[in-house]
C-alpha cells in the first residue's frame, strides 16, 4: 500500500513539474467546470467564445480537451445522442480532482501576485 501511494506521489509531482497549464487550457478547463455535466466539444467552444469574446476553432478545442485528459485534469465518458448528431455519441468531459487542484493553484498564484502590484493596490 505504501509503495503505491509513494508511486502516485512521484508520478503526480513529475506531472506537475512538466505539465503546467496554458492560458487557453485554463479557459477550457474553466468552461468545463461551468458546464458541469454538459461539457463536450461544441458546448465548450461556445462557452469559451461567450466569455472571452474571441472566435475559436473547433479543432483547437478538441485538441485541448484531449490534451487535458492526457494530463489527467479531465476525465470523459460517452454521453447520449441527439437528433442532430445521428448515431455519433457525445464525449462528455468533467473535471478531475487534479484538474481542480491545478485550477486553484493557478488562481492562487495570480491572486498572490495581484496583491503586490502597487498600481492596483494603492493603499498597500
Amino acid at each position: 500500500m505504501y509503495q503505491i501511494i509513494s508511486y502516485n506521489f512521484v508520478y503526480y509531482t513529475l506531472y506537475m513539474k512538466n505539465k503546467g497549464l496554458g492560458e487557453f487550457e485554463e479557459l477550457v478547463l474553466l468552461a468545463v467546470c461551468i458546464l458541469e455535466d454538459a461539457a463536450y466539444g461544441i458546448s465548450v467552444k461556445k462557452e469559451v467564445e461567450k466569455h472571452s469574446g474571441r472566435s475559436i476553432l473547433l479543432g483547437a478545442v478538441h485538441i485541448t480537451l484531449y490534451r487535458l485528459q492526457d494530463k489527467g485534469f479531465l476525465k470523459s465518458e460517452l454521453g447520449g445522442n441527439t437528433e442532430k448528431r445521428g448515431d455519433r455519441r457525445k464525449r462528455l468531459f468533467s473535471i478531475t480532482d487534479t484538474g481542480m487542484q491545478q485550477l486553484k493553484a493557478a488562481q492562487e498564484v495570480r491572486q498572490k501576485m495581484w496583491q503586490f502590484i502597487p498600481q492596483l493596490n494603492p493603499e498597500v
Binding site: 466539444g41 473547433l58 478538441h62 490534451r67 455519433r88 464525449r91
Partner: protein, 887 residues
C-alpha cells in the same frame, strides 16, 4: 437531412484518429445543422470545409504507427535503419562516398553561383531591356569586322537633337587625384585607381541608383557637382556609415584643378554592375583629367572609355534607330572617316558577355562560350562524382549480397529492394549535400580571392539556391543510385546467400565499371595536361626575352611635364649614387596604354598599318637597353621631327637593311607630321605577348610625357637599400609635385600584371584539377576494392601456392596500367586539340611537346599506383586460411 460536402467528410474520416473520430464528427455535424439554420446551406458548407481543413493537424491525425500505419512506413523505417547501420559499419567506404559526392556537389554549387553571378549583371536597372550602348562596326577587310564601344563626345547630344531620344555620354577614368581639405588647412590626398565617372545628366534618367541623400533630378544639373557612393564618402570624410548623408555639400578637389561639391550620396553599386563607379561627376568636368576633351564638342576624338547609351521606347527588337543611324556620321565627320564605320546598338544585356565588343568599364567581358565551358566543367564534376559513387557502391555489392539474399527469400520483391537501395543513396547524397555546402563555402572563398568578386554563397538567402541544391541531390541520388540498386536487386538469392557471386553474372557490369574508371582517368589526364600547358605558357610569358630590360626599374607617373620641374627632379635623383639613370617618356617599351595612328609612306604596301608612338628622351634607349642597330640616339637639342623606329618599320617602308632607311621620312597620323628616321632599334614587344609585335615610332617631342623611369644600381640587392632608394625618390618627387600622391610601380611587376587573367585561370584550374584527381582516386579505390573482394579466394590459393606479396600486387597493377593507357589514348588527342586551340589565342605561344603528355601520364600512373597499393597489398597480406575457409 442535409449532408455536408461528402468528400471532405470522407477526408476527415480518413485522417482522423479513431479515438477522436466519433465525438468530433458528431460535433461537426451538430455545428453544421445549426449553421444551416442560422446562415443557410452554402455558408454552412464553407464553414464545414474550413473546420475540416483546420482539424488536419498533428494531434488529430491518426499516428502512422501501431495498427494504423500509413502504407509502407514501417518498411521505409527499416530501410533507413539498415542504411544507417551500413554507413556505420562500412565507415571508410561511406566516408569515401560522401567525400567524393560532397566535392562534386560543392564544385557544382560554386560553379552554379559563378554562372548566376555572371549572368545577372546590370539586371537591377528597371530600364534594363530598353537601354542600349552605341557601338561602332568597323569593317576591316583584312581582320574581318571589328567592334568597339568608344564614341566621340558629341554623339549623345547629336542623337538627342536629331532623333529626339534619350541619350547620354559617359566617360570612365581609372586614375584620379582627389584632395579633401578639411577647412583647417589639412589636406588629405587620395590617388584613386578606379571609379571616376563623368556622365551627362541624362545618364541618371537611364540608369537606376539608390539615393541616400540628394535629388536625382538636380544632382548633376550643372558643373561642379559630384555624386559619391556611400563607401567612398566614408573614406573621404571619415563618416560612419549611418551618417554618410552628411557628406552632401562638402567639397573635394579633382586633380588639383577643380573644386566640386557633393550633391548626393548613393548606395554602393552592386557587385553585378558593369559600371564600377565610386564618384560620378558632370560630363563637362572631365577636362580636369582628360586632355583630349575639347569641351565635349568633338566628333572625331575616339576613346574607348567614352561610351554612349540610349534609351529606346521598346525592348530589344527595335531596329528602327539602327536603320536611321546608318548614314548618320557623315553629317558631322569628314567623308573618309565617316565611311569607315557604322553605328550599331548593343543591348545592355550583352554588355557583360559580348564576344564582339570585348570591353566595358569593368574590364574585359566574359564570352558565352566561357560560361558554357564552365557549366560543362561543373557537370563533369558531378558526373565523375556519380561514377565514383557507382563504382564504390557496386564494389560493396558482394558484402551486401547476404542481406539481399535474406530479404529475397523472405519475400522481398525487386521493386522493394530497388526502393531500399535508392533510399540509401538518397540518404548518403543528402549527407554529402550538407558536406558539399561546406566544401562550396571553402571553395567560394578561394574563388572570391582569385576573381576579386563577391559571389556571396549564402544558400539560405535565396529560395532559388536551395531549390538547385535539392534538384542536385535528387538527380545525383537517382543517377548514381539506379545502377547499384538494380545490380543488387538482380542477384540470385541462393547464390547471394552463399556469398559466391557468379562471375558470369557480374562480368557485364564489370566492364561498365572499367569503362567508368577509364572515363574518369581520361578526364583527370586532360585536366593535368591542361594545367601543365597553362603553367608553361605563363612561364613563357614571364620569362620570354621582350627585347628590352625591365629589371631594377621603377616607373612613376608625372602629374605634369614642365621641362624645368623634370630637370630639377632628374638632377636631384641622379645626385644619389645608387640611381643609375632617369628617363622621361610616354610609357615604357611595353605598355597596356598606347597611342596608335596610321603610318604613311609611298612604298607601303600593307593596308592601314598602325604605328605606336612614344615620346622619349635621350636616356630612354640606354635605360631600357634597347638595341640600336643603325643610326644614332637622340641628343638633347635635336629637332622634334626626328624619329627612331624599330626594324619592322623600316621593312614596312621598303628597306630590308635598316641602315638604308636612315634619313627617310614618313608621315605619322592622318593629318599628322612628318618624321625623319634618325636611328633604328631592334624589334621589341610593345604590347602583350598575346599579340603580334607593333610598328614603333620613338620621337623626342616634349608633349605626351607621362612617366618617369628610374633605374637603380643593380648591386643594391638588400631590401633595406631598395626601401631607402624608394624613400629618396619619393622625397625628390614630392619636392617637385607637392600637391600630388607619389605612386610608383616596379616595371617588371607591372608587366607581369598584364597576364593577370591567365594567372587567375591557372589558379582556378589548379583547384579543379586537385578535386578531379581526388574524386578519380576515390573511384579507383572503389574499383580496386571490388576486385580484391572478387578475388579473395584466388589470392588465397595463389598464396598457398607460394606467390609473394609483390606477385599479387602485380596482378592488380597490370590491370590498372592497362586502363590508364586506354584512358591516355582517349585523353591525349582531346587535350592536344583543346590546348592547341587555346594557345592559338596568343601570338607568342609555346609548342606542345611530348614532354607534357609524358609528364601527365607519369603523374596519373604514380597517383593510381599509390591509390591501389594500399588496398592490394592489404589483400595480398591477408592470411589465406581465412579467405579459403569460408565455404
Amino acid at each position: 437531412m442535409n449532408k455536408p460536402p461528402k468528400i471532405f467528410l470522407k477526408f476527415f474520416r480518413w485522417f482522423c484518429h479513431p479515438r477522436l473520430k466519433k465525438p468530433i464528427e458528431g460535433d461537426l455535424m451538430e455545428l453544421y445543422e445549426e449553421r444551416i439554420v442560422e446562415n443557410g446551406k452554402k455558408n454552412a458548407d464553407l464553414k464545414f470545409i474550413r473546420d475540416v481543413l483546420l482539424l488536419f493537424r498533428p494531434s488529430i491525425i491518426k499516428p502512422a504507427d501501431g495498427t494504423y500505419r500509413i502504407n509502407n512506413y514501417g518498411m521505409l523505417r527499416n530501410y533507413f535503419i539498415t542504411s544507417i547501420r551500413f554507413i556505420k559499419r562500412e565507415k571508410l567506404f561511406s566516408l569515401m562516398n560522401i567525400i567524393g559526392l560532397s566535392l562534386g556537389i560543392g564544385c557544382a554549387l560554386v560553379i552554379y553561383k559563378i554562372l548566376e553571378h555572371e549572368t545577372s549583371f546590370d539586371k537591377h536597372h528597371k530600364n534594363y531591356e530598353r537601354i542600349f550602348r552605341v557601338v561602332n562596326e568597323f569593317d576591316q577587310t583584312e581582320h574581318g569586322t571589328v567592334y568597339f564601344a568608344g564614341q566621340p563626345h558629341a554623339l549623345a547630344e547629336g542623337l538627342r537633337n536629331d532623333f529626339g531620344i534619350k541619350a547620354a555620354m559617359s566617360y570612365y577614368e581609372k586614375n584620379g587625384l582627389i584632395v579633401i581639405d578639411d577647412g583647417a588647412g589639412n589636406k588629405k590626398r587620395f590617388q584613386e585607381k578606379e571609379g571616376l565617372a563623368f556622365v551627362q545628366p541624362e545618364f541618371l534618367e537611364l540608369f537606376d541608383f539608390e539615393w541616400i541623400s540628394g535629388d536625382p533630378s538636380t544632382a548633376l544639373s550643372g558643373q561642379g557637382k559630384v555624386i559619391l557612393t556611400s563607401s567612398i564618402a566614408q573614406k573621404y570624410y571619415g563618416l560612419p556609415e549611418k551618417e554618410v548623408h552628411l557628406a552632401t555639400g562638402k567639397s573635394l578637389t579633382l586633380e588639383n584643378e577643380k573644386t566640386l561639391y557633393v550633391s548626393a550620396v548613393i548606395k554602393d553599386l552592386p557587385s553585378t554592375s558593369d559600371f564600377p563607379f565610386t564618384s560620378i561627376f558632370h560630363y563637362q568636368d572631365q577636362d580636369a583629367t582628360n586632355r583630349y576633351f575639347y569641351e565635349g564638342k568633338s566628333w572625331q576624338e575616339y576613346n574607348s572609355n567614352t561610351n554612349c547609351f540610349v534609351l529606346l521606347d521598346e525592348a530589344s527588337s527595335d531596329t528602327r534607330l539602327e536603320d536611321q543611324m546608318k548614314e548618320y556620321l557623315i553629317k558631322y565627320q569628314p567623308e573618309d572617316m565617316a565611311s569607315l564605320m557604322e553605328l550599331k546598338l548593343q543591348p545592355l544585356s550583352e554588355m557583360h558577355s559580348s564576344s564582339t565588343v570585348t570591353r566595358n568599364y569593368r574590364g574585359e567581358t566574359v564570352s558565352d562560350n566561357k560560361l558554357i565551358a564552365l557549366g560543362v566543367v561543373g557537370l563533369f564534376m558531378i558526373i565523375t562524382a556519380c561514377i565514383n559513387f557507382v563504382n564504390l557502391s557496386t564494389a560493396q555489392a558482394v558484402k551486401r549480397s547476404k542481406e539481399v539474399g535474406v530479404r529475397k527469400s523472405l519475400g522481398g520483391n525487386k521493386v522493394q529492394l530497388v526502393t531500399q537501395f535508392l533510399s540509401e543513396t538518397l540518404l548518403i547524397t543528402t549527407i554529402s549535400a550538407i558536406a558539399g555546402l561546406f566544401v562550396a563555402q571553402l571553395l567560394s572563398s578561394q574563388i572570391e580571392n582569385i576573381f576579386g568578386y563577391d559571389i556571396s554563397l549564402n544558400l539560405f538567402s535565396g529560395f532559388e539556391s536551395l531549390k538547385i541544391l535539392m534538384v542536385i541531390v535528387l538527380a545525383v541520388a537517382l543517377t548514381s543510385g539506379m545502377y547499384p540498386a538494380f545490380i543488387l536487386s538482380r542477384m540470385n538469392p541462393i547464390l547471394a546467400v552463399k556469398n559466391s557471386l557468379n562471375v558470369k553474372q557480374t562480368s557485364g557490369f564489370l566492364s561498365l565499371r572499367r569503362a567508368l574508371v577509364v572515363f574518369q582517368f581520361a578526364i583527370s589526364q586532360i585536366l593535368i595536361i591542361g594545367i601543365l600547358v597553362l603553367n608553361m605558357q605563363m612561364d613563357y610569358f614571364l620569362t620570354k626575352d621582350l627585347g628590352f630590360n625591365d629589371d631594377s626599374i621603377i616607373v612613376v607617373k608625372l602629374p605634369d611635364s614642365t621641362t624645368e620641374k623634370l630637370q630639377v627632379m632628374k638632377n636631384n635623383l641622379l645626385a644619389n649614387p645608387h640611381i643609375e639613370k632617369v628617363s622621361y617618356s610616354t610609357s615604357g617599351p611595353l605598355a597596356s596604354w598606347k597611342v596608335n595612328n596610321p603610318i604613311f609612306h609611298p612604298q607601303i604596301t600593307e593596308e592601314n598599318p598602325s604605328g605606336n608612338l612614344k615620346n622619349i628622351d635621350e636616356e630612354y634607349i640606354a635605360l631600357y637597353e634597347l638595341d640600336l642597330i643603325a643610326g644614332e640616339n637622340f641628343t638633347s637639342g635635336d629637332p622634334e621631327d626626328q624619329a627612331i623606329v624599330n626594324r619592322m618599320t623600316t621593312k614596312l617602308i621598303g628597306f630590308d637593311n635598316p641602315v638604308d632607311a636612315l634619313g627617310e621620312s614618313f608621315q605619322y597620323g592622318r593629318s599628322g607630321r612628318k618624321y625623319i628616321i634618325k636611328g633604328v632599334v631592334e624589334d621589341f614587344h610593345a604590347g602583350s605577348l598575346r599579340r603580334e609585335m607593333d610598328y614603333v615610332v620613338l620621337a623626342n617631342q616634349k608633349w605626351n610625357i607621362y612617366q618617369a623611369a628610374i633605374k637603380f644600381n643593380t648591386d643594391q640587392t638588400s631590401l633595406n637599400d631598395i626601401k631607402d632608394l624608394l624613400d629618396y625618390t619619393e622625397k625628390q618627387w614630392s619636392a617637385v609635385y607637392p600637391d600630388n600622391v607619389f605612386d610608383f610601380e616596379f616595371y617588371d611587376e607591372q608587366l607581369a600584371a598584364m597576364y593577370d587573367k591567365e594567372q587567375r585561370i591557372s589558379e582556378v584550374f589548379k583547384i579543379i584539377v586537385a578535386i578531379a584527381i581526388i574524386i578519380g582516386c576515390l573511384g579507383l579505390y572503389g574499383l580496386i576494392s571490388f576486385m580484391t573482394n572478387q578475388k579473395t579466394k584466388e589470392i588465397g590459393i595463389r598464396k598457398v601456392m607460394g606467390a609473394s606479396v609483390l606477385n599479387i600486387w602485380n596482378i592488380f597493377s597490370k590491370e590498372m596500367v592497362t586502363l590508364l593507357l586506354i584512358a591516355f589514348i582517349i585523353a591525349a588527342p582531346v587535350a592536344y586539340y583543346a590546348m592547341n586551340s587555346w594557345l592559338d589565342n596568343y601570338a607568342y605561344r609555346i609548342e606542345l611537346t611530348p614532354t607534357v603528355f609524358v609528364i601527365s601520364i607519369l603523374v596519373s600512373l604514380v597517383i593510381a599506383l599509390v591509390t591501389i597499393s594500399y588496398r592490394s597489398i592489404r589483400a595480398s597480406k591477408a592470411n589465406p586460411v581465412l579467405s579459403l575457409r569460408d565455404e
